[in-house]
Symmetry: C2
Subunit: 518 residues, 2 copies
């Protein structure tokens, strides 16, 4: 499933590792880990959760709502279907997934240099998704517009540490609900050449996404070796936890699966409300729901790419509000990452979560406490890695550039320790010796430029210099940075014939039915 | 080396784990990990760095400055001493350490319920150390005073997620340099009953620390089973990297070692200035320096407790300023933690570092990017875990309570996943079923209170509620919290006879020599 040219690129980057630094690595189309996974469960613990997931599927079952075709598919596969409740024999879902789902796949980008590998040792950092509001420190919080949406597409395009343009970065609330998907998809296609995500709010909108991708990718849409479509779109199919899939999501999943496009099956869980209040209970339920969804996709089209998703937040015992950056969701993430590797499918979870309303210390610590587990645990598709504020209700401009600084650091961390002769630096230690300093030695001069991750927005100056610079905090520096980036933005060139075809498709489709806000 | 009563306490806490939550665990005198270590090097990588450390000790050597006794000790041990340069045969330092240094030891607290275990699977979180300035958002940055010092002793005493009172939390600049150690030690003894750290700025001040500890601990000072002093003081002995120890630190180390008090031997390294600009080079040099210091302590008094320290920051290539929360120092930490376990000594590193001048998003993300590695890597003595701002130049009031929130989360994380029947929660999943919610089910009601870490300072409310509450950011909420804590502070009772004896010792010693600021 890995394209040969991608394999070559990965090897080449490994060879360059000791000679070049963070800046070069950050420009790679995706991150590849050279450090181990952090795991919190042993073999017995993992097996116990797998056993419990099978028990949930067998005894409790999963509801597939308002979709008779889905129920028939399950009947044909040997499941016990009572009304809309589907109970799967132990092991059936795992068997269906392992029989045909790819362990790793390539998502095509408009610019093939930006194709991403999803799965295996690779991590793709992706902007936040689904926020109705936007926030910046100048104007505060307000509903998102198409202009905001396009701004974030541009900022993601300009961020070397993000590998993907994302999907519904923020809702363009100035457009009718039933037509805004056209403008979102077109914006990803026009203002970025990175990979993007498809519409899932109606099967017809999934179909529109696929049609527009066919126009964009042209000859590249079909892989001549297999005769099947290449995977050019990835989409987010959420379960209605607990243990329910609805017809909207099932309908979109079927459209994408039949076109060989990728589906991320994600139980979306506020633990304590949509799952038990415990880590092990939430993990077993998440595994059960995700396996049911992924197995369904394999039944619809064996071999269609799927990603196992997990979204789990904790909850305030005082208010019932979701809480982020707490230890319990990190434990769920570590467990689910491990379970996905055992199942043999790519994994999506984590990001840069916070409940904070502004880009303050709460936002930063909660995000770090999510993004480090995302990275150390082995997430392959790190949705929500940049911009997320207010429990996902707002997309923050300052938060976005703060988060992309962090995703840059994560990619340096993933490179691990350089143990080459240059990395060992024994000649430098011999040259300098006790009581001297290393600043001027040959090894330091040769390596200094790329030796350490350098943030574009932190202030490491003296108090006096910081004072003279106006005593700015992180959010103020981030504010200056996103404005500078947008002022420097240049669109990647798009073939005018393709652009025209996309616009024509949109115009025709938009004219075919009236505006609506459902 | 582990006191039997401590062993019992550890077991008891394990038994309670599934029934009680984060609040109870945080009240334990120290944290005990039930999750694996995160490690970035394999056996070959670790052996390579050990090999390089031995090469540094053998070929390059370590300077022991202005201390003829130290040089004679090394000559007697078989080292090659040329002037002040000491070269150790390969393996000598490791052999000396492994022959007598304890793998784990108990530091006594005034309140024996607060004794801490240093080493093994245990982590002790300790306030920041050595800051000349203090900072709060009302008054900004200013020199520290004794009142500030005492405030932080009180706040640490009131913080269940800190296990230690620390040492020179901030410099009480209103007192003469040569006498302020009396007031600092006395403040730890008087305003807290947790463990504390000794003075290291002159051998006489180390001696004063030991004498005051003898008064405080009285009959408990000598262990009747061994006839030797119990370890009641731990102190920070920094190497003057690269590869140098000076007479001040050596003198203090000798005083503490001969009294069986614990020494943390820490190479203090700004990588690129005091070590090579690479992770592997910095790790090898740190290991060499720390082993030389710990072996020296074992030569002075075999069996005296030692802790291997590592402090490594990265550097801005633009300004030469130290940078914090970057990936490279995290890699050094993970490597050194692993090397300390192989050597068989407790490990000190990490904390909550930042270069930020105020408790903003930079401070929070840099701290999280240090504290999570501190926790996941397996640091035993986590100095600088609370309060640190501005590269260690300032102790922040708001930062302190923000950091203790984070150390509380880390202790929940260290407990790992509860796999008991209650933790698995299968009955809850069976009871609730597809499409329902878990809020009211029996399992949720029974577990909700302790299910998730609850921060005292984050805001998880709706935007509207947050707006109605005055739109406070994290720093403003932390400001209110430290003031509330100080207003509620009650001193732990201290035997008036001991208090009197401490004051008499200080008065007599202070009168014996004139004030001086060196």
């Amino acid at each position: 499933m890995t394209a040969p040219n991608t394999r070559r690129r990965t090897r080449a980057s490994g060879g360059r590792r000791s000679a070049q630094g963070a800046a070069q690595a950050a420009a790679l189309p995706y991150a590849t880990r050279r450090i181990p996974y952090f795991e919190v469960l042993d073999e017995a613990g993992l097996a116990l959760i797998e056993e419990n997931a099978d028990t949930i599927l067998e005894e409790v079952g999963i509801d597939f709502r308002d979709d008779e075709e889905a129920l028939q598919i399950w009947r044909d596969a040997g499941a016990d279907v009572q009304g809309e409740r589907v109970r799967m024999p132990r092991g059936l879902c795992r068997q269906l997934i392992q029989a045909s789902a790819p362990r790793q796949f390539t998502q095509q980008a408009r610019n093939p240099e930006r194709n991403v590998e999803i799965g295996g040792p690779h991590t793709v950092y992706v902007p936040a998704y689904g926020c109705p509001f936007v926030y910046d420190i100048d104007q505060g919080r307000r509903y998102g517009t198409l202009e905001d949406f396009q701004n974030f597409v541009k900022l993601a395009y300009q961020s070397p540490s993000l590998h993907h343009s994302g999907g519904t970065i923020c809702e363009p609330v100035d457009l009718p609900v039933n037509k805004r998907h056209f403008d979102m998809i077109y914006s990803h296609m026009k203002y970025s050449d990175k990979c993007f995500m498809g519409s899932v709010t109606h099967p017809d909108r999934a179909h529109d996404t696929v049609e527009m991708a066919k126009i964009l990718f042209g000859d590249r849409w079909i892989d001549p070796d297999t005769g099947k479509p290449r995977t050019c779109v990835i989409s987010l199919i959420n379960a209605n936890s607990p243990m329910t899939f609805d017809d909207t999501m099932l309908g979109a999943a079927k459209v994408y699966a039949r076109a060989n496009q990728a589906c991320i099956i994600t139980p979306f869980i506020l633990a304590g409300a949509m799952s038990p209040v415990t880590v092990a209970g939430t993990a077993a339920q998440t595994l059960a729901e995700a396996m049911a969804g992924m197995a369904f996709v394999q039944l619809v089209n064996p071999g269609a790419p799927v990603v196992m998703g997990s979204f789990a937040s904790s909850m305030s015992m005082q208010s019932g509000a979701p809480t982020f950056g707490t230890p319990e969701p990190a434990l769920v993430l570590y467990a689910m990452a491990n379970l996905s590797r055992r199942l043999g499918v790519p994994f999506r979870s984590g990001g840069s979560f916070t409940a904070s309303k502004l880009p303050d210390a709460q936002a930063a610590s909660e995000s770090a406490n999510t993004l480090l587990p995302t990275t150390l645990g082995g997430v392959n598709f790190a949705l929500h890695a940049a911009g997320w504020l207010e429990g996902g209700l707002a997309m923050g401009y300052e938060k976005f550039v703060m988060d992309t600084d962090q995703t840059g650091m994560m990619q340096t961390l993933l490179k691990g320790v350089d143990l080459s002769e240059n990395g060992q630096a024994m000649d430098a230690i011999r040259e300098v010796g006790p009581g001297k300093h290393f600043l001027g030695c040959a090894h330091t001069q040769a390596n200094f430029k790329d030796a350490f991750y350098l943030s574009p927005i932190t202030d490491n100056n003296s108090f006096e210099q910081w004072d003279a610079d106006g005593r700015l905090d992180m959010a103020q520096r981030a504010n200056a940075r996103w404005k500078k980036l947008l002022s420097e933005y240049e669109a990647p060139p798009l073939d005018p014939a393709i652009d025209e075809a996309l616009l024509a498709y949109m115009a025709e489709r938009k004219a075919a039915f009236p505006d609506s806000n459902v």
